[in-house]
C-alpha cells in the first residue's frame, strides 16, 4: 500500500525543499532556483499520474497495445514553457534590481527600502 504511492512522496519532498528555499533564502537568485524546483516537483507529479504499469511511450506502433497517458505530458509541456517564461522575466527583474540597488540580497534590500 505504501509503496504504491512512494513516487508522489518524492514529489512532496522536492516540493517542500523548493518552497523552503523560496521563503527562506535571502538571495533573490536562490529564491528563483527554489521556485524552479518547486515547479518541477509538480511536473513530476503530473507525469507520475499519467504512468501506466507496463505501458509504453504514447507513440502509436503496431506492436504495442498499452500506452501511458499522453494528456499529462501535454499539460506539462505547456507548464514547462510557462515555467521558463516566468524564470526569464524574474531574472530580468533581478538584473534590474541589481542595477537599481546594487545588491540582490533580500536583507540588504529591506534596509535600503524598509517599506517593501
Amino acid at each position: 500500500m505504501f509503496f504504491d504511492l512512494y513516487n508522489y512522496w518524492i514529489v512532496f519532498v522536492l516540493m517542500m525543499i523548493g518552497l523552503y528555499m523560496v521563503i527562506n533564502q535571502s538571495n533573490l537568485i536562490k529564491k528563483l532556483i527554489g521556485l524552479n524546483i518547486f515547479q518541477t516537483s509538480v511536473f513530476i507529479f503530473y507525469i507520475s499520474v499519467g504512468k501506466v504499469n507496463g505501458g509504453s511511450a504514447p507513440i502509436f506502433s503496431s506492436t504495442e497495445t498499452l500506452y501511458s497517458n499522453p494528456l499529462p505530458h501535454v499539460l506539462i509541456l505547456t507548464a514547462i514553457v510557462v515555467g521558463i517564461a516566468t524564470m526569464a522575466l524574474a531574472l530580468a527583474l533581478v538584473v534590474r534590481i541589481k542595477k537599481a540597488y546594487g545588491t540582490v540580497e533580500d536583507s540588504e534590500l529591506q534596509e535600503k527600502d524598509p517599506k517593501c
Binding site: 516540493m15 518552497l19 523560496v22 533573490l28 529564491k31 521556485l35 518547486f38 515547479q39 509538480v42 507529479f45 503530473y46 499520474v49 494528456l71 499529462p72 499539460l75 505547456t78 507548464a79 510557462v82 517564461a85 516566468t86 522575466l89 524574474a90 527583474l93 533581478v94 534590474r96 534590481i97 537599481a100 540597488y101 534590500l109 527600502d113 517599506k115 517593501c116
Partner: protein, 495 residues
Amino acid sequence: MLDHLPILQVIVPLLAAPACLLLNKPRISWLFACFAAVISLLISAALLNQVQHSGVISYMLGGWEAPWGIEYRIDLLSAYVLLIVSAIGTIVLLAANTGIRNEIDEDKQSLFYVLYLLCMAGLLGIVATGDIFNVFVFLEISSLATYALVAFGRDRRALLTAYQYLIVGTIGATFLLMGIGLLYSLTGTLNMQDIANRLPLVSETSTAYTAFVFMIVGVALKLALFPLHLWLPNTYTYAPSIVTAFLAATATKVAIYLLIRLHFSIFGDDFGGGVIQTVFIALGLLSVFVASTVAIKQPNIKRLFAYSSVAQIGYMIIGIGIGTSLGLQGTLLHLFNHALMKGALFLALAAVVYRIGSTDRACFNGLAKHMPWTMAAVVIAGLSLIGVPLTVGFISKWYLVLASLQSGLWPVALLIVIGSLLAVYYVWTLVESAYFGKADPSLNSASSPPIKEAPLGLLIPLWILVLANVYFGIDTRLPLEASAQAANMLMGAGQ
C-alpha cells in the same frame, strides 16, 4: 459570425497585441489597442444579451466536443464578469495615452500597450473558458503581463515589488496547478462541467479535500485575501497609476470570479459542510477591519486606497461565505460596483500624479482649488466607496446586509456597517484636506507653474466612470438583474 463570439472575445485583444508590437509607434499602437478593446467590449455586451435570452453558450475549440477538446462556456456569471472586465479595460485604456505620458519612456510605450492587451486578453480568457487547465494557461499570460506592467513604475521599488509579486503569484499558480493535478487524478478529466458531474462519486476522499484546499489557497494568493494580501498594497502603490486603475478594477475581480467558479460550480456549495462558509466569513470580516484600520494611517493616498481594496475584497468574500443566493448577489453586485469606484478613484489619482507627480497626503492640501473636476470625482467615488445612497456602493452593501440578516447572521450585518464607518473616516480626511486644507506654500513655489486641471484625455474617461457610479446607483436594473440571474443560476447548479 455570431456563433464565434465567445472565442472572438478573447482572440481579438490576444492577436491585437502582436499587431501592436509591429506598429511600434506609441500613438498608433494606442489607437489600435483602443479599437480592439472597444470591439471586445461590444462583443461582451452582445454575449450578455445572448446569454440572457437563450441560455448558456458552449463553444468547442478545434471542433472537438467537450471533455476531449477545450470548451468555452459562457453562462450568465461569466458573461457578467466579461462585461465588467472589458468595459473597465476599455475605459482605462482610453485614459492611458495621456496617463502614461509622464510615467513611461516614449520608446517603451508601444510595449506597454502590447502587455496591456495581453493582460486583458488573459483575464478575459480565464473567465470565458470552461476548461480548468486552460484557466492556468491564461492566468499565467495575464500574470506575466502584470508583472512587467508593474515594473514599468518610475520608483525603483516598483522593481522589487514586481519581483515579490512574481514570486507570490507563481507560488499561487503552482498551487492551483497542483490542485488541478489532484482533481485530474480523481476524475480523469479537465472540463469543469465534467469534473462537477464526476466529483460527487469521489467527494468523500481526502484527495478531493486536498485539491480543494490547494486551489482555494492558490486563488486566495492571487486575490489578496487576508492574510495573503501582503503583496497587494506595494504593487498598487508603485505600479504606474494607469496600471493600478486597471488591476484594481479587473484582476482581483477575475480572481473572485475564479473562487466563485471553483466553490459553486465545480465543488458544489455544500462541499465540506459549513466549515468553509464560516472560514470565508471570518477571513472576510478580518480583512475588512484590519485593512481599513491600516488604511487610515497611510501617508500615501495610493497605498490608502490599495488597503481599501483589500477591505472591499473582504466584503465580497463575506457574500460568498453567507452562501445564500442573496449573499452571492451581494458579492456580484459589489464586484461590479467596486470595479466602477476603484477604477474612478485610481484614475483620479493618475490625474494627480500627472500634474503633481506624487500622491502623498501633503500634496492634496488645497488641491480642490486647482483641480476641481478631479477632486469632485474623488468625492463622488469616495461616497460610493462608503456606500451612501444614490451611489452604486449603497446597493451592494445593502444586499450584503440584507443577506446576512436573512441568514440570521446579524453580528455580520452590524460589522459590515461598522466597517463602512471606517471608510467614512479615511475618505473624509482626504476630502477635508483637499477642500479645506491650506496648500503648503513651499510645495507651491517649488513647482513654479501653478497646478492646472488634469488634461481632458484623463478627465473624460474618469468622468465616464464617475457618472456610471451615480447612474447605476439610481437606475439599478442592469447589474441587479444580471447578478440576480447569475446568483440564482449558481445556487441552482449547486443543488
